[in-house]
């Protein structure tokens, strides 16, 4: 089985100093990668470099396309969630999901089902009045709108209570069985079954 993503010899530099060097890993369908490091060790930079937001100093990123060839450009959408969750404060919970590109063509019921799964079904308030945990749940609900081959989530488990942590872990397991992979970062190893990389 071919991996969906091959990362080879990746090095990133900031202000003339190397943040990480010579990282290698493959992301296979249904399998996860967990990147562990302290603050400032470059986890966010790594995700950004893979997705093309930053140009790395060295290394190649290759994606599998429809003909089973590896290319340096991506042919399908991935899901990315940074520290900042990507949630608009002035929109309600429903609008935060409905007014995204991934929700195009989805019926209202589908979106409400996604909200139900994360436990946010009956909240109609704008996102600014919600707690941090609830805002994180909105961002988790966005994972479910569409199937992505690879999910890149920066620190999914930070600032979460046990219930939400279980929710995410179960979701990851479920999505793994559907062939989706997760590349997540964190300070400490989590309970997710994944190959761990330390930087």
């Amino acid at each position: 089985m071919l991996p969906n993503l091959k990362v080879e010899n990746l090095s990133c530099v900031r202000s003339e100093k190397a943040i990480f060097e010579n990282l290698n890993f493959d992301v296979f369908p249904g399998q996860n990668i967990e990147i562990i490091g302290s603050n400032g060790s470059g986890k966010t930079t790594l995700l950004r470099a893979i997705l093309g937001l930053i140009r790395p100093e060295n290394g190649t990123i290759r994606w599998l396309d429809g003909d089973n060839n590896f290319n340096e450009y991506r042919t399908y959408d991935c899901f990315y969630q940074g520290h900042q969750l990507g949630i608009k404060n002035l929109l309600t919970v429903f609008e935060n999901l409905n007014l995204t590109h991934n929700a195009k063509g989805l019926k209202k019921e589908t979106i409400h089902k996604c909200l139900e799964r994360v436990g946010l079904s009956n909240i109609n308030d704008p996102a600014s009045s919600l707690s941090v945990g609830q805002r994180k749940r909105i961002s988790i609900a966005r994972w479910l709108l569409k199937d992505f081959k690879i999910y890149f989530i920066d620190e999914p488990f930070s600032a979460l209570d046990d219930e939400a942590t279980d929710l995410i872990e179960n979701l990851i397991i479920e999505l793994n069985t559907q062939g989706c992979s997760f590349v997540i970062t964190g300070h400490r190893p989590s309970q997710v079954e994944a190959s761990r990389i330390e930087i």
């Binding site: 997705l51 969630q81 608009k88």
Partner: protein
């Protein structure tokens, strides 16, 4: 092809909804414009002949300052809450998405200014015939200002608003000169179409060039 239009409509709906929920976004440029216009009679005296001769310049100075005021917010909020990342991660050309943000900025800033300019024209004793040229020059001018403002906002993301104004103001001088020439020519019953064509040409070249450069400038903030 379809997908990019979907993106554009979603961005438009989302940002316009947010802008309308925070009415300060579109009221402030309008009020600022009117305040600046009011300062001129206050500072220089209310004689009709003086004001009507200064009016084209006053309207345009107020337009430039008011559109630059709202520039800071084009990208800063999206950058802070992570929504901007989607633009560059998606497979769609990001400069089209940046153009959507510019369009939204123009709808929120340029359009209210255009409405307020008629009020300004009345209080500055401009003749009724000049209203159409004023509006035409302002459509072209404020759109170009939104483009320049987007670049300025992208370059000075996270820094003071004055910096983006300093960056953008010298480049807006041709717009100022052409725009005032349109209004002055119309008052003198001369042909102003040539100036409008030039402003249109600047816009035609500016839209692709400035949107592309704004994408580069935005990507700088991710390093």
């Amino acid at each position: 092809m379809n997908s990019i239009f979907d993106w554009l409509t979603i961005i438009l709906r989302r940002d316009l909804l947010i802008a309308f929920r925070r009415s300060a976004t579109y009221i402030t440029p309008l009020i600022f414009f009117l305040i600046v216009v009011t300062f001129f009679p206050l500072a220089l005296g209310p004689q009709e002949s003086l004001l009507s001769s200064l009016a084209p310049g006053v309207i345009w100075i107020a337009t430039l300052l008011a559109s630059l005021l709202a520039v800071e917010s084009i990208f800063s909020e999206d950058f802070r809450d992570g929504t901007l990342d989607d633009f560059f991660i998606s497979l769609e050309p990001s400069f089209v998405l940046v153009f959507a943000k510019v369009l939204i900025h123009w709808l929120i800033t340029g359009l209210p200014i255009m409405a307020a300019s008629i009020i300004a024209a009345v209080v500055l004793y401009l003749p009724f015939d000049s209203f159409l040229p004023i509006l035409l020059s302002l459509i072209l001018g404020t759109s170009f200002m939104s483009l320049l403002g987007a670049l300025g906002a992208a370059l000075s993301l996270g820094k003071s608003a004055i910096l983006s104004a300093i960056i953008v103001l010298p480049f807006s001088i041709p717009t100022l000169l052409m725009g005032t020439s349109v209004i002055t020519s119309s008052i003198n019953n001369q042909d102003y179409f040539g100036f409008l064509m030039i402003m249109g040409a600047m816009l035609a070249i500016g839209i692709p060039l400035l949107c592309l450069l704004t994408v580069e400038a935005l990507l700088l903030n991710y390093d």
